[in-house]
Amino acid sequence: MKFDDKIPIYYQIKQYIYKEIIINHLTPGSKVPAVRQLALDLAVNVNTVQRSLRELISEGVLESQRGKGNFVTTNPEILNNLRKNIVEEQLSLMYDHLASLQLTPDEMIQALTEYVNKRKETHHG
Amino acid sequence: MFSFSFGVLASLVLAVILAVKQERVWTAPLYRLLPLSETKLYIGNVLTNFFSWIYFEILVVLLAFIMGPTSFVKILQTMNNGSFLEYAVGAGIILIFPTFIWCSVSLVHLLTNTFSDFLPINIQRISRVVLIIVLVYGLGKISNLATNSFTMIFASSQATSDASFYLSFIYLILTTIVVSIINIYLLKNWVQATPKTA
């Protein structure tokens, strides 16, 4: 995994785990790799991974079971919110960018619809 | 007889090799980083050399005996007119004398290092040579003075050759101990490792 040097690593690891959950690489109820293993896989400090996992646990995305490890939550509400939040985050970024180009909300919707259709065509063609 | 002179020559070569080995330890990070007090490092290093020397001398004697048993016995017979104590002290001197020399070499080396740390880096080559000459001269003077006063105090009253023989043995041990105490002080407080310049 490639990190952005200007963003705290623990934050990027959280984003990475969110994504793994959303695309079902980490399924609900499954076990997250051990801290040191994650640190090795991502080539980062163990403390950084610990901080990410701590925050994920306090958010309820992961559940810690004593002596067994950390597991992805099976709570559908949290999982749905997770998906919603991630998508919303991307949309808010796009909204801000387009707003800075002085697009009105209606123009944004129109532009997005056109763009999506264009991508669909190139994908099918 | 040939094996005897060969033994002497080999011993000399070994004495030089061991001297170099002993000096290397004082400034090698490999040894200076060991979790030991400077006293233990010093005693360990000096004793290692001492026992290497004894080991080698025993080998030399054994070898001399194996290579020419008859001439070996002959040599022993020609020196057959002293007491056991005399031979023991004689052997003691042969065994301890190299240690005395090594410790003295260490003293010069450690003092040179100590003073060099207070001299600019770009004159080190010259300053070291000058320091060694000055130190050898100075220490020679001091040891002369010490030897003279030692003999004045202890040997003047009954200057038989036997007594001065034993006294010189005691003197050798005492000097080695004094030099070692100074060396340990220098190691503890002043002499730092000189890492290889990468």
Binding site: I9, A39, A43, V44 | F118, P120
Partner: protein, 234 residues
């Protein structure tokens, strides 16, 4: 928990040159800390003083509250303790050597490190490439189980694959409570690995900052943060 390393008003000069002046530093347990500074800033000298092959005459340095140099040496594993053997021993002989001399040296760990780093115990040290020698240095240093590891420029002049292997070894083998102080003049090599950075400039610690603070509060990457310290002068 008290600090692992405390340095109070450390000054050091040699050959009439002042190298460190009134340096203060505290390091906690269980972190990876980057020691940054230009060539000749005194990073190596600081490490040698901490490790004890340079003499800290005023007892300014304490590790685990110990100032005694023999005790300190038992608490520090320094890359400079590797090398200078007589002859050209094979790697396994070197393992035996350290196993005999250091109580905290773990031969099993050493062998695992060797295989992780693709080093063969039968190789002779004089036949190792520069990168492989660096790996051996890391293997010996990390095979000791101690509180403080000092890695002096472990990535100097080696390729990126070797660098990655060494980084994995650090992550894998650092005891949880131990702290690693690693010096580097290319911060980018290790930026992702660091809990905090210590910058040496003008003979003292010019800055000590957590990596997260640099990124989160200052919005900079570590490299820029470090370079800015030198740019301000120009």
């Amino acid at each position: 928990m008290a600090n692992l390393l405390t340095i109070n008003h450390l000054s050091y000069s040699r050959n009439l040159q002042l190298i460190l002046k009134d340096l203060n530093l505290e390091l906690p347990y269980g972190q990876i800390v980057g020691l940054l500074g230009t060539n000749g800033a005194g990073k190596t000298t600081l490490m040698r003083l901490i490790a004890g092959n340079y003499i800290d005459r005023k007892n300014s340095i304490s590790i685990n509250t110990e100032t005694n140099s023999a005790v300190r040496k038992s608490l520090v594993s320094f890359t400079e303790q590797v090398g200078g053997w007589s002859g050209h021993p094979r790697i396994f002989k070197i393992g035996n050597f350290y196993d005999a001399l250091y109580e905290d040296f773990n031969l099993t760990t050493f062998n695992q490190l060797l295989s992780n780093l693709n080093l063969s115990p039968d190789q002779r040290v004089n036949q190792l490439s520069k990168g492989n020698f660096r790996k051996l240095v890391i293997a010996v240093t990390l095979a000791r189980q101690t509180d403080l590891y000092l890695l002096d420029e472990p990535f100097d002049g080696i390729d990126s694959m070797t660098r990655k292997k060494i980084i994995s070894s650090i992550i894998q083998w650092k005891p949880e409570n131990a702290t690693v102080l690693v010096s580097d003049h290319h911060v980018g090599d290790i930026a992702n690995l660091l809990d905090q950075v210590v910058i040496i400039k003008d003979q003292h610690v010019a800055a000590q900052e957590a990596a997260d603070t640099i990124r989160e509060t200052l919005g900079k990457d570590i490299e820029t943060y470090y370079e800015d310290f030198y740019r301000e002068e120009l």
